[in-house]
């Protein structure tokens, strides 16, 4: 599939150095998978790391590497929202406007940013700094409202913090995610990481923010822990747990529950809990 005479047969317009580098990276991607076709998604991220979007040349390059048609590559590239069909800004600023973030203030943040920047959804500022997007739930609901910059978390935003953030990005100043690397990299640099080429920044930033630790903090304060393992009842490594009397014929675990209250036996039941 990695046709050797690629350099002479390519329909792409990449210069020789760029093409050689892309080919080496794409080959490394394909080697991660039993079937090289699995490398198409990371390969499209790779193309974006060079061109800043999925370009015509990028599509042809992927097709040539995988021995499939350009139409087959386009079909995939148009399915996923992270692949951009026109040049992206240096920073994608995504405001979560799915229900929870929207209600908590995400709608106001998006409207303010849109006014402030003079662009709408999936539009880029004239200086090429920012592409503004409405994004869907990004799994940070306990930090709502959330803004993502090049897919790094900016938690608990307001219209004021979000416009200040955008202003810094336009001025080319570093911005620091709430939970992420020590600064936000460019769209192209981000795309290279998403293609599976680490940038050595995994150790930057925090492990968790306050909401992530909310339950753990209460457990620590109140001395709550998970139950201890049954120590001493089972010599380690000699008796698998399957010999323990759980779920064995005749045990209570075999009994089919007849009512919802059957699932509550022995638990902390409150008065009226049976009523659904």
């Amino acid at each position: 599939m990695t046709a050797e005479p690629l350099e002479t047969t390519t329909k792409t317009r990449y210069d020789a150095d760029t093409l050689a580098a892309l080919t080496a990276d794409a080959t490394a991607i394909m080697e991660r998978y039993p079937d090289p076709r699995s490398g198409l998604l990371p390969m499209l991220h790779l193309v974006q790391s060079v061109d800043g979007y999925v370009s015509r040349d990028g599509i042809l390059f992927c097709a040539e590497m995988l021995g499939i048609t350009a139409a087959e590559v386009s079909a995939v590239a148009t399915f996923y929202t992270q692949y951009k069909r026109h040049p992206n800004g240096t920073y994608t600023v995504g405001v979560c406007t799915n229900t929870l973030c929207a209600v908590m203030g995400g709608d106001a943040i998006f409207d303010e940013l849109s006014d402030h920047l003079g662009v709408g959804h999936d539009e880029t500022t004239p200086d090429g700094a920012i592409t503004l997007e409405r994004v869907e739930c990004n799994a940070a609901c306990d930090y709502a409202p959330v803004v993502m910059v090049n897919w790094e978390f900016f938690d608990n935003q307001t219209p004021e913090t979000a416009t200040a953030l955008a202003d810094k990005l336009i001025l080319g100043e570093d911005v620091v995610p709430t939970r992420g690397a020590a600064s936000v990299c460019s769209f192209k640099q981000m795309s290279r990481v998403l293609a599976g080429f680490p940038d050595g920044r995994a150790d930057e930033g925090v492990g968790a923010g306050e909401p992530t630790l909310a339950g753990l903090k209460i457990a620590r304060e109140r001395g709550w822990t998970a139950p201890d393992a049954d120590t001493g009842s089972e010599p380690e490594g000699t008796a698998p747990s399957s010999t323990q009397p759980v779920g064995k014929p005749g045990s209570s675990a075999e009994r089919k529950p007849a009512t919802p209250s059957d699932t509550e036996v022995g638990k902390d039941k409150k008065p009226g809990e049976d009523a659904k």
């Binding site: 609901c141 680490p198 150790d203 492990g207 698998p240 323990q244 902390d268 809990e273």
Partner: protein, 447 residues
């Protein structure tokens, strides 16, 4: 009921994501023990523990492993579903950011149990730092001999590939995820055959959620009965409950299954000051909504199901009385219409029309009969597509019309939304009137 930190227990340590931190806390004891066991006994241990899928469906994890056909000499795969995208769901992403080794150890144990020598972690592409942490965790595990060739001298080989998606909710559906991982558009496959028989590259494949796999090391190290000592009789073990929205202290609360929202809200400082609970989701936007009538419903698979919803991903989104249920439902519907992959007509066309009707109601142009029209559309989507996306799309609509029909009717009769959206926000602001109908008067809006 008290909280039971297991997966969360190391999250407050310095550099919690590093292998050394995880090992100091007893990490990889499960793998070392597993490698001395017969793989079939490992599967039995997980069956005995009662662990059920933590990605939403709640299928027994050990039974899923047991569905793989006998080895035929060809490859078998483990694919971890780390494409967490269900609105409201925010547990796997913080887990992988804070403690990715929990997942990697689970991957190693599960792979050994099912006879897999190449596992994949499919993480959504929109979480850059989580992807960095996962790549780094895998690299650390290779260097320490927990992955790679002849792991811990056992003769067991395992490679792990961490794969970033590119933005598509549907790829959280297991067969769409497999198509995506094969380099295709992420569209669900017809089942059967199930992935256990013909999954990745048409080979026997186990697809499990992050939290399910991360729960495996504890079960192996501490025993099935340790795990099943938590939770209810049919919904066993610990789970991450994610509180978000109008709650004083939103966040992750790891508790035995069967805890109630009332108990969790007590710990989280209650609904935001000066407000009261209006509606909530027990397990993400695809699960029918609940009200304060369900505060004492035990959050286990059976009880939530008996009460008319689903435990789902334990994504408890809390909305107070300032929130318009039509606005909330309309936005979720926008999401499903956007994320419908287009393969099945009822879902593709149905979500499109649901969106049109809901928008005109919210914007003040609703007509008599629109609620019946919505319910009829829902009836023509539910159960009529390959995957559950369409089913999820109708859940918030049918449940909210059932519980708040008069509020929908007020939008139609009053020709607009009676709520002030700024009252729901966490900061004061003046809504911009650019959006037709957002605050506009009678007759405004439409499309």
């Amino acid at each position: 009921m008290t909280l039971t930190p297991v997966l969360t227990d190391t999250w407050d340590k310095a550099r919690s994501w590093r292998l050394a931190t995880y090992e100091r806390a007893g990490g990889y004891a499960g793998l070392k023990k597993a490698l001395t066991m017969d793989p079939a006994d490992l599967v039995q241990t997980v069956k005995d523990s009662g662990l059920r899928g933590r990605g939403g469906a709640g299928f027994p994890t050990g039974m899923k492993w047991g569905f793989l056909p006998p080895p035929d000499g060809g490859p078998r795969y483990l694919v971890v579903n780390a494409d967490e995208s269900e609105p409201g769901t925010c547990k796997d992403i913080p887990l992988m950011l804070a403690s990715p080794q929990h997942l990697i150890e689970g991957v190693a144990i599960t792979s050994y149990a099912i006879g897999c020598d190449h596992a994949f972690i499919y993480v959504r592409g929109e979480v850059l730092h989580v992807y960095r942490r996962l790549l780094n965790a895998v690299e650390e595990a290779y260097k320490a001999g927990y992955l790679g060739k002849n792991i811990q001298g056992s003769g067991f080989d395992l490679d792990v590939t961490v794969h970033a998606g590119a933005g598509a909710y549907i790829c959280g559906e297991e067969t769409a995820l497999l198509d995506s991982l094969e380099g295709l558009r992420g569209q669900p496959r017809l089942k059967p055959p199930f992935p256990a028989v013909a999954g990745l590259y048409a080979r026997p494949t186990v697809v499990n959620n992050v939290e399910s796999i991360a729960s495996v090391p504890g079960i192996v190290a501490k025993g099935a009965d340790w795990f099943s000592s938590m939770g209810t009789e049919k919904s066993q073990g610990h789970g991450l409950f994610s509180l978000s929205g109008h709650v004083t202290r939103p966040g992750q609360y790891e508790a035995p299954l069967g805890i109630t929202l009332r108990e969790l809200l007590d710990m989280a400082g209650g609904v935001r000051a000066g407000h009261e609970l209006k509606f909530w989701t027990p397990g993400g936007s695809s699960t029918p909504i609940f009200t304060q009538d369900h505060l004492d419903t035990p959050l286990d698979y059976e009880s939530v199901g008996a009460a008319g919803s689903m435990l789902g991903t334990r994504a408890l989104q809390i909305f107070d009385e300032t929130v318009c249920v039509v606005r909330a439902t309309t936005r979720w519907t926008d999401f499903y219409a956007h994320e419908s992959c287009g393969k099945c007509t009822p879902c593709r066309e149905g979500t499109y029309w649901l969106k049109q009707v809901l928008h005109r109601i919210e914007d003040g142009a609703g007509q008599e009969g629109d609620l019946e029209l919505l319910l009829d559309l829902c009836d023509n989507i539910l159960g009529r597509a390959f995957c559950a996306l369409g089913d999820g799309a109708v859940s918030p609509i049918t449940s909210s019309i059932q519980l708040f029909r008069e509020e929908y009717q007020a939008h139609i009769d009053g020709h607009g939304c009676p709520f002030d959206p700024s009252a729901s926000a966490l900061f004061p602001y003046t809504p911009k009137t650019r959006t037709p109908g957002a605050l506009a008067g009678a007759g405004a809006g439409g499309h």
